[in-house]
Subunit: 316 residues, 2 copies
């Protein structure tokens, strides 16, 4: 059983399974495990720590001979040289997100990179296609992280974008196994991206407390914060985020939500779950154990083919 | 191409496509069109107008010889005789919703009815199975109408409930065509329920202004209201609901959201979109025209088989 579609061809991977570019987390230890398992690891730049990112990309070349990508989270990387920085690293695949798709697309394409833009709405998708992207990451609002303040779920957004565009789509938001991967493919995707599943992986560098919180979470244990401002975000419910959910409403007068990330590393790597915000998708409620990346990808692929085969046997 | 699974067997229908039980709307004109097209029409009781409902069930027997069902929306029908009322109508299939599944399940089952309970969380699903229901309607938060205040999308909730229970599942929330039906089946459903798609149908009794508003809506044009109280609900964005979205936050002091339904009929049948709240799912953004029910169901079935066939050809 193997995959052969536009995403595997463009990315040069065995399996069209991409790891999401979580700030500070999507670095060589995790990303190389994903690439070595046949998926596509992605290195983040949203931490803004470009020196560290350069070092991580260097480590990737030691840890894997397989393809990997870089993400440019436009709203979070203010360095005007980010495009040249990415080009200089010699990677072939980049996702751009959280910003205007016309801003970097041409320069990246002219340098020979394959460019996918992350979109939370049809309007954003059409704008990205117009800008000349090679493909889209279509991100439903059940996913974790920074979100459009007008949330639309994968079940609605993905087929809508599929109907109105022709470029290959990587589905994000709610994807955590082979069943959800098969559903995303039924909706028109040719690849999937996993965030929370990878945060919880054995090779993820986050503190065990965060992984344990994902494993313990029910499907109702995320909050959607700051919907009346920007950026909105989805995170695990903690004492802090439950309080913020009730405070970040119209006429809120306190400090901006981004101030909560000042102590992000105390949560991410120190394990103090109340120090900051643990970005996470609703799939936390479906994750019952910490697994190595290789196992996650193998089980996903096996279940994908079993699901498609089962549907075909019953209904085709 | 035909369907044969637990849902078609239990419901006695050709296609496992169920019409949602929208208050005032899910009456004989719409429900008979669904049943005659091979799906399952459902008559509502959430309007509380049991005399009218009795008359509608009488009309159903004139308009169709096919099976149909009744919904008991427990939070909205306070009549203690509702169970006997439903049994007396001679229907064989009932969905219960918005309440404790143990309350009516035994009496309905003892009277020979097939009982499905509508659930928005895994916890509710497990409780319903424990109560002895025959199956579940698993309802993702992208759907319209009254919702759990802790929203979980279909892509997350449906496979979670599938993994943890064995009863047949009808998927609701985000389902509007064959692609989404195939995705729901990949996630473990054996049937689907459509609400907004049926509100927009030619045979739907709502005013043309509401249908036009669904056709005009983008996928971001719904609001999720009253999340910090009960009942939460999803509706089309209008001047009224955009205002309510910003008002119905913690420490809200105004009249309860249900007071907005005092003039529901002026919206539903009079076409004054600001008179009340037009309950609607995110799929409004995917609906581009008013179609007869028969066409909706035929296109859904054709696209379902085409989608499954396409997946099988590429990946099985």
């Amino acid at each position: 059983m193997r995959f052969k579609n536009r995403i595997t061809e463009m990315l040069g991977v065995e399996y069209p399974i991409v790891q999401a570019p979580m700030g500070w987390i999507a670095r060589a230890q995790l990303a190389s495990a994903v690439s070595n398992a046949g998926g596509l690891g992605i290195i983040e730049t949203s931490s803004g720590e470009l020196d560290a990112v350069r070092e991580e990309i260097g480590k990737m070349r030691q840890l894997t001979t397989k393809p990997f990508g870089v993400n440019i989270a436009q709203a979070f990387v203010r360095d005007p040289n980010i495009v040249q920085f990415v080009i200089d690293q010699g990677v072939k695949f980049v996702t751009t997100s959280a910003g205007d798709p016309t801003k970097y697309c041409r320069a990246l394409k002219e340098a020979g990179l394959t460019v996918f833009h992350v979109v939370p709405t049809l309007k954003a998708a059409l704008k990205a296609v117009e800008a000349g992207v090679d493909g889209l990451v279509v991100e439903g609002a059940e996913g974790g992280g920074f979100k459009n303040p007008q949330p639309v779920s994968t079940m609605v957004l993905l087929p809508l974008v599929r109907e109105k565009t022709n470029v290959p789509i990587i589905a994000a938001g709610g994807i955590t196994d082979g069943r959800t991967m098969a559903a995303a493919f039924a909706l028109g995707a040719e690849g999937v991206q996993m965030g929370t599943r990878m945060v919880s992986a054995a090779e993820s560098p986050v503190h065990q407390n965060w992984k344990n919180a994902i494993v313990a979470a029910e499907e109702t244990d995320t909050v959607f914060l700051n919907q009346f401002s920007r950026p909105a975000l989805r995170a695990l419910k903690t004492q802090k985020t439950a309080r913020l959910e009730r405070e970040l409403v119209p006429n809120y007068q306190g400090p901006p939500v981004m101030a909560e990330f000042a102590r992000a590393k105390d949560l991410y790597f120190g394990g103090d779950m109340e120090a900051s915000i643990a970005l996470s998708g609703q799939v936390a409620g479906r994750i019952d154990s910490v697994k190595p990346v290789k196992q996650i990808i193998r089980e996903t692929v096996d279940e994908f083919f079993a699901t498609v085969g089962g549907l075909a046997a019953t209904y085709a």
